[in-house]
């Protein structure tokens, strides 16, 4: 039967309904600030939004969006290749290219379509793609469509990448290497300096997804490659407007002029309507803020360290280093669901992540930190986790 393959998901949904827990698609009924809202009837601190710099609620971004609606209307109603390229779209492409210090940029309607579209198009039959095993679903979706030979290297393991490049022989020179800046589930930062060194030794092209690191890492906020000092080695950067920039959309930038030709070959760019002008306008304003207010990054990292140190002090299994994403790994599905609800009851919304969305067989309580969180809110989050331990829901020595 057509629907048989969905039965295990239907069973899981039924289990959640029976338990009265709704962690997936939790509905926000009111947004009180970038870090507080009413979710499922309860006032909660938002600690699972990817709103790293809190710019979705910035009055300047809101005004830019409002002005754009007045001037351009609510949508473009067409593809970038038809009627959907307004001067604002081109201006954002100029802005993002200038931000990265390159000549070429493409703006996409979503971050997913940017990454998926570029991965599906850059390499084709006869080419090789070497991707990090823990790559985002949009990357896997893209490489699957590409027709290229697709090989995984062990997560954040430059030695394994080098081994696989060696095995490719002459084909290594036409290989697309794909890595991310900050990995979205556990918040770990890729060893890009060592990955770039492998590329220098064997050749190939380096593609870095800065979705979770743009705005968070690097001297001017360009991301993990800037922080690692290897931007010159990166052939293609992709990223999103839906995290640090507080809107929705995505981009690819490159020093290769061929990107301007590739634009006309990307289905995910051609066959969808372009972003609403209000989104483009708020994104341009948010990018201006990132460039002129580096103190936002300082605040983000202050909060990230505060949460990471707090959860680590409780003995909870968090990632290897502090990061704007702080995930607590747990082995038991039922206990993780119970903990998610207990955190909600304590006034904290986090993300519940189950395999295969998590990178292992473990379950995650995934927290994302914002520059807009107050220290009091971070302390409240830590206190909520402490209550998971004191009530016996979590035994730190037996989580993961």
């Amino acid at each position: 039967m057509l629907f048989d393959k969905f039965q295990s998901m239907a069973d899981f949904q039924a289990e959640l309904r029976d338990r009265g827990v709704a962690p997936f698609g939790a509905v926000t009924e009111e947004l009180l600030s970038a870090t507080e809202g009413v979710v499922q009837g309860k006032r909660v601190i938002l600690a699972g939004t990817n709103n790293y710099l809190g710019l979705s609620s910035d009055p300047r971004c809101i005004k830019a969006a409002k002005d754009a609606v007045e001037r351009w209307g609510t949508g473009t109603t067409g593809s970038r290749l038809a009627n959907g390229s307004f001067v604002e779209h081109q201006a954002l492409e100029d802005d993002i290219a200038e931000f990265y210090g390159v000549e070429n940029a493409i703006v996409f309607t979503t971050g997913y379509s940017a990454t998926m579209g570029m991965c599906a198009t850059l390499a084709g039959p006869g080419d090789v793609i070497l991707l990090d095993a823990d790559s985002h679903a949009s990357i896997y979706s893209g490489v699957k469509q590409s027709g290229a030979e697709v090989i995984r290297f062990k997560h954040s393991n430059p030695e394994d990448l080098a081994k696989r490049m060696r095995r490719l022989g002459d084909r290594a020179k036409q290989t697309l290497i794909i890595a991310e800046g900050i990995y979205s589930m556990l918040g770990d930062v890729a060893p890009l300096r060592d990955i770039a060194a492998v590329k220098r030794e064997y050749g190939g092209y380096l593609f870095v997804d800065e979705a979770h690191s743009m705005g968070a890492l690097g001297e001017t906020g360009r991301g993990a490659a800037q922080a690692a000092g290897i931007e010159e080695d990166v052939d293609f950067f992709v990223g999103t407007f839906s995290k640090s920039l507080g809107a929705i959309g995505g981009f690819c930038v490159s020093r290769h002029p061929e990107l301007q030709t590739i634009r006309y070959c990307i289905s995910a760019y051609i066959f969808t309507a372009s972003s609403a002008p209000s989104i483009i306008a708020s994104t341009r304003e948010a990018l201006r803020i990132i460039r002129t207010e580096p103190e936002l990054r300082d605040k983000l990292w202050h909060n990230a360290n505060l949460l990471y140190d707090g959860l680590q002090a409780l003995g909870l299994p968090v990632g290897p280093t502090a990061s704007p994403v702080v995930a607590v790994e747990m082995e038991d599905r039922s206990a993780t669901i119970e903990c998610w609800q207990a955190l909600m009851d304590a006034g904290v919304y986090v993300n519940l992540v189950v395999p295969p969305a998590s990178p292992s067989t473990n379950f995650l309580l995934r927290n994302s930190v914002s520059a807009a969180h107050t220290s009091a809110q971070i302390k409240h989050i830590v206190k909520a986790y402490a209550s998971l331990i004191s009530t016996g829901l979590v035994n730190p020595t037996k989580t993961a």
Partner: protein, 80 residues
């Protein structure tokens, strides 16, 4: 050049720890339907094979692999 049978022997041995149902493994044993490997376990198993034979196995072959015999055939092709 390694013979098909040698690949099979290695695969049987590498799967032993995952053979929770104590099946008698054969060429026709399905990795997912019979042994019950999850998608993550399949990838871990692939890494084990790659390390052992010093090869890279493209993800593209996976849709054509159902049984241990299918996998042995593919690994033999890659390692030619």
């Amino acid at each position: 050049m390694t013979e098909y049978q040698e690949y099979l022997t290695f695969l049987y041995s590498a799967l032993e720890s995952k053979n929770k149902k104590n099946l008698t493994l054969s060429e026709t044993t399905s990795l997912v339907a019979d042994i019950g490997l999850s998608s993550l376990e399949v990838m871990e198993f692939i890494e084990k094979i790659e390390d052992h034979f010093d090869i890279s196995i493209p993800l593209n072959i996976l849709p054509d692999v159902n049984t241990i015999g299918d996998l042995a055939t593919k690994v033999k092709e890659i390692n030619l």
